[in-house]
Symmetry: C2
Subunit: 342 residues, 2 copies
């Protein structure tokens, strides 16, 4: 969805969050600015979408930096990038009608204009709309790709996932169990850990905030680790490295620990990569569009049948987005972090 294609303005007001400055050390709400601008009128073939839900995801922290990465950095003074579910309120595109629910990258704002090629209609189903930003959206497909295409757990193997109750980790645990593997989560605090085991079906969940974290980690992994789905980096990844089994696979999905405060995630001793003949692979789910239909179909089915459970944290209104975003980076959310916009 683009901002700039329409020159006319409607009488509606579009509130938006733009990147005001790049973080130098710890990022915070002061790096954002909230603006009110006129809602553009859709031009030829364009669609105006009113956003109902905004997704907050850790990758956004990376975009705030001006660093060499897989995408161009978020531009200063432009709307923060973000996944949205919305409702078509005006359409000059024959493929979309007023009232259609669409998912896209509408950004941190109340309205967006689309050319119709960068939004998809939400498939008819009994799922709540915001699920298309979570377990049947980018986070769900991310989990699906990392588990099935990189780790490929075999029955009886052990898979560890950090941020286990988060939007991605929840689905990782589900898919690991489905493959017959032992699923061990890492999460912050006893409440999340209890939820992971009792509600999400993890075999064990280790509290990385507990004083005996390293000891508990070892105890929860008596047979070592065959697969690592890494969302966080930092100490959990370092502990995983020391418990790898031969031919372990590590899917590097995120390094939130380092992104929040700018301290890099390190591996102090990489020798297990050699001694265990391990494989480590970083990936970005948007580069694997071929798996999305299969993954979404499977995940939607598992939610509909009640096999895949998940949790959400909902912030109310766009103004709450910056605080909710940084809270998520600190692990203050519980499950998928969303912002309700309409």
């Amino acid at each position: 969805m683009t901002q700039a294609s329409s020159t006319q303005a409607s009488s509606l007001t579009n509130r938006r969050v733009v990147l005001a400055s790049r973080p130098t050390t710890v990022a915070g709400p002061e790096n954002f600015r909230i603006e009110d601008v006129a809602v553009p009128v859709p031009g030829a073939d364009e669609v105006l979408v009113r956003h109902l839900w905004l997704s907050l995801d850790p990758y956004m922290r990376g975009r705030m930096n001006d660093a060499r990465s897989y995408t161009a950095p978020q531009k200063l003074h432009e709307v923060m990038v973000g996944g949205t579910v919305g409702e078509v309120v005006a359409s000059n595109n024959p493929k979309f009608a007023k009232g259609d629910h669409v998912v896209g990258m509408g950004g941190w704002q109340l309205f967006s204009i689309s050319n119709g090629r960068d939004i998809q209609k939400v498939a008819v189903s009994g799922l709540p709309l915001q699920a298309w930003l979570g377990p049947v959206g980018m986070p769900g497909v991310t989990a699906w790709y990392g588990v099935n295409k990189i780790i490929a757990p075999k029955p009886g193997e052990t898979l560890v996932v950090s941020a286990a109750t988060g939007a991605v980790g929840t689905v990782v645990g589900h898919l690991a169990k489905k493959a017959g593997a032992r699923a061990v989560g890492i999460a912050g605090g006893p409440e999340k850990c209890a939820f992971a085991v009792k509600e999400l079906g993890f075999d064990a969940c280790i509290d990385h905030r507990a004083v005996d974290f390293a000891e508990a980690f070892k105890k929860a992994l008596p047979n070592g680790i065959d697969g690592v789905f890494e969302n966080v980096g930092g100490l959990p990844l370092q502990l995983c490295m020391r418990r790898l089994n031969p031919f372990a696979r590590l899917a590097i999905c995120g390094l939130v620990a380092s992104r929040y405060d700018g301290t890099p995630s390190s591996i102090p001793d990489i020798s297990p990569m050699l001694s265990m003949r391990a494989k480590m692979e970083g990936f970005i789910v948007s580069e694997h569009m071929d798996v999305w239909p299969q993954a979404l179909k499977e995940l939607a089915g598992d939610i509909a049948s009640g096999k895949l459970k998940y949790r959400e944290t909902i912030a109310e209104g766009l103004d709450a987005a910056p605080a909710a975003f940084f809270g998520m980076l600190r692990g203050e959310n519980f499950g998928k972090q969303l912002v309700r916009l309409g």
Copy 2:
């Protein structure tokens, strides 16, 4: 080749090097002991081999430790493990005749007994015998596997290899060029670097002992890095991480830097694994026996035709093996490190 299967002893003396103690910090010749024992007489189906050449390889340093790894550690007070080329001097095995040249894992000693199943006759060719311990032996196949099965360089890509003039690195450079890639070596000292470019055909070679190493590294890699063949670890690997291109592949073959003095090889910032969607894989060539025939055939052909050049450092006599071994770990050898035994 085993030691223990024969109870009789001949009148010949077998000199051997055993592991006397495990290194606590820096390993040294004091961890070895040289012994003279009687040469066993071959039993039923056994073969007595007199060694002509012993191969010295970095992996032996890892075996000196009592660490969890891909093989059992070298046992204390037993003959150090090592590849050998030798001549059959007595045979009770119908598959081997006196005078046959055989390659095997005879260890750091002058003679060994084989059951005939763990030695191979050296294929008839015009290659010098000791080449079967180098470019047409384990180091050559190691290079072949890492380049062709992990990195798979495409024409125009850039591949970096550390210990570029060593037994493995030499062949890595050759195979990278053969694949149409730019081959950039890292080696210690101007003499090795000049040799890599002028004789081995590398496009560039960077002296890691030079004061401007990091700067020269950057200059030699204007288009980034698509493949890393890592033999050393330490700073060169850290510099490589910062110059990775999207979808870079890193084959972890050895971490000699850390093995010599026990300081682990670290990666202070693993974020390029994610931002560049890189793959890193450790491997052990003995687990990929299926590629050996194809690799050896190709490498023998390339040596015979003069396309694959290499260099050797030869230590004279078994007593010189310990010093030569530690010299190699410090990079004092130039090319494949061998010990002439006969």
